[in-house]
Symmetry: C2
Subunit: 513 residues, 2 copies
Amino acid sequence: MLSKMLAIKSVMKQRQPRFLVSLKVSYSTYKPAQPLSVKDINQKTVHAKYAVRGKIPIIADELNDLIKKNPSSHGLPFSKIVNANIGNPQQLDQKPLTWYRQVLSILQYPAIADAVDYPEDVKERARVILENIGSIGAYSHSQGAPYIRQSIANFIEKRDGGYPSNPNNIFLTSGASTAVSYLLQILSSNEKSGFLIPIPQYPLYTATIALNNAVPIGYYLDEKNHWSTDPEQIRSLILENKQKGIDIKALVVINPGNPTGSILSKQDIIELIDIAAEYGIVLIADEVYQENVFKGKFLSMKKVLNELTEQEPETYEHVQLASLHSTSKGVSGECGQRGGYMELIGFKTEVKDVVFKLASINLCSVVSGQALMELMINPPQEGDPSWELYRAETSSIHNDLEIRADLLYRAFLEMEDVKCNKPTGAMYIFPKLDFSPEKYRKLFMRAEQSNLQVDDIYCIELLENTGICCVPGNGFGQVEGTYHLRTTFLPPGKEWIDRWMEFHQSFIKKYTS
Amino acid sequence: MLSKMLAIKSVMKQRQPRFLVSLKVSYSTYKPAQPLSVKDINQKTVHAKYAVRGKIPIIADELNDLIKKNPSSHGLPFSKIVNANIGNPQQLDQKPLTWYRQVLSILQYPAIADAVDYPEDVKERARVILENIGSIGAYSHSQGAPYIRQSIANFIEKRDGGYPSNPNNIFLTSGASTAVSYLLQILSSNEKSGFLIPIPQYPLYTATIALNNAVPIGYYLDEKNHWSTDPEQIRSLILENKQKGIDIKALVVINPGNPTGSILSKQDIIELIDIAAEYGIVLIADEVYQENVFKGKFLSMKKVLNELTEQEPETYEHVQLASLHSTSKGVSGECGQRGGYMELIGFKTEVKDVVFKLASINLCSVVSGQALMELMINPPQEGDPSWELYRAETSSIHNDLEIRADLLYRAFLEMEDVKCNKPTGAMYIFPKLDFSPEKYRKLFMRAEQSNLQVDDIYCIELLENTGICCVPGNGFGQVEGTYHLRTTFLPPGKEWIDRWMEFHQSFIKKYTS
């Protein structure tokens, strides 16, 4: 020990005489400090959970590495991972839309506009965007380029039948995740701030609530009734939590639903708005799947709110609504480009100013993603040179999704002890593993012994046997004693579904015999 | 009031009979809730300050709007805003590098590779990136695409003379801001967590510390000695704050300096590492300006740490260092593309796992920005088809910056009562407004009356009279009773500098006569 101290001393002396002065103070006790462990860091960050990229996807990544490193000798019973854990269409076989990518290529390198044989509307749109926002390599306004915000406002007005949208209320974000992060951050005043979230939910919400040390209050969606909302239950939860001293800040609504794949009815939406109006609770409408609708019709919460306000301004004019959209979903599927926006309706300017400050600390969202959002909400129209191809590509993606959803849904219907609502939107199915403790005694015993849940075991074995990666229902929340899983229906073909069905049979056999 | 209640009741009845049940409870007291005001939201978000896009840049935006809307009748004594408040080169006249943008255009629309006359190395690099990471429209690994992380690791090894870099320690981020956000979030255990930050500092740090409810501890850079660090002062601050019960988590170092434009010597760096080693404090090395060096040489903190560890492993092997880099600065200036990375050295895996979780909640950083980072750190080499143009463009940008820095520096030297260190790096100058209360009695009186600081008044009047937007020193921190401003030296030409000098004379005349 002494020799080490002397060594330190001698080096310090060479380099920095001043160091010796302070070393004298603590010289006899000096030892190099150890690196931080998890107990030394922010416990909120340690305890937040995010299942979509949690333990099962991490195992899948490791298996994937194994396959890549040893393509012919990995020893696994499958040759590739099927990532059904995340709505990431271009990771699978979905091609980007030509319209988006041609314009974006010009935005990256404007000189090619003259060198390649792009349709005139592609060149024209790129020209207009560049003229209005300048180089996509410059920081934009922190809230998003004004030109793009105006274009989004026009889209919202058109989508909602003419109700006005103000570009000053629109914030371009990095996907919808940043929007959720800003909203939950400003609304989490203290550890008594509560957020009503659907169960099952997209775990971004519980994770972000945990990071902000706020209280998640789960309201259950009604599985027996196409995952609809139950306003009575929400009202009871509000009263119950108010009595406990919880200050409920916001009601999160995901429509179309993730992970449920369901679409809310107008009546459901009205009831949720009524609750917000009565209790002064902010509505967070996660509407990123608004283009992913197979059956029925997507109704934006803003449109319904505007209709109600028209009828009864005094009741509804103070409702605060944040509506979120993204370039990652829809038929766009441009997840990696990180485009998104939120519209803040009914918020005081002083509060929007705080959101603006948060955005400005991050400087701006990626400008190519902002441009992509513009291309998505303002696509070619009939008669435009790009129209035919755009229409063909988008219809094909839309049809593919519908066909894939239906194929997978039918497979679940056939599987023993699996129940499933028909998906009507989004990119997911959330089937129920209807396993009773009596029939599946061995499975429940295994769960108890291994400290895993029944749906964890199912998903782990599914992955290990087939390479199919999906997420256990407990990562999204489910009624106590029920078990689900979330899978996307994005992977192409039927072969993976056949493998799943085969696995399912052997799983049942294994744990019931 | 009664008629309103009846109206609500009748509408509720039509729509939602269940609502009436709960309405009965609170019927007599029902009134629509009011929107949130700033007092109702998270006070940490309300009180965080971010001067770079704060009040003066907001006035500049408004003036800019005024000019755009009334190009010939705005009534202002200038025809455009000169944004010297932010290092945003492509907002001014800097052109993007052809190499970056040609490759990125192919990544956006791979089919053009065959249609345009790009150099072979451009096509080849795009091909390799696409082969390794797939579509840039897919989410990547949350930490960043493995291929790109490996390429960055190779760059770091080469930059630092062969010391190894592990791609598992590299996190791709959205600019450097997200890296700062992750680090400060995990390190802020509670309201006693302290962060040593340079004064003057880049206000991202104080803003993020405020958002995390942690304690900023400013250590002053020595203006008289080229803004160097004073280790003795830092050690005193550590002891002093430890006595107050502050748990000091990290020491932030910005090198080359923002806003100071100075470069730390090797001796300075060694002393900072010694402090980290002794007290187990994480080093956050903001090295985003590492390519912006006119005089002297940039030495990465990691290289110096590795040299020290080689000499004395016991003392230095546990030092934890986070090194940040970005595509926004350098000769790249691709701010809007939001590329960046951090390397975490010496951190326990369990702690890196928590950073990974935070990254995964945001899914991934923009993939085109990740690719841009690869293009930046792995540029064309001598002999490659793109080399000559790349060399010419980068030298020209580098030279322009040096010339502009020098022009502006000389102007400040000529200005009465302004003192200034010669900028040797980064993109900024932080001149001192050496105004004494005696000589500038009127100015100090005005400050007192208007509740503004002397540097606020200077910057506001500069903006109002010339259109030049820069940021008062108080937004970055300065020794009590001293006044500075931060300006970039990016705007081209000398005309704006002449206007500034003219303004300065009249300002002095106004407040001294």
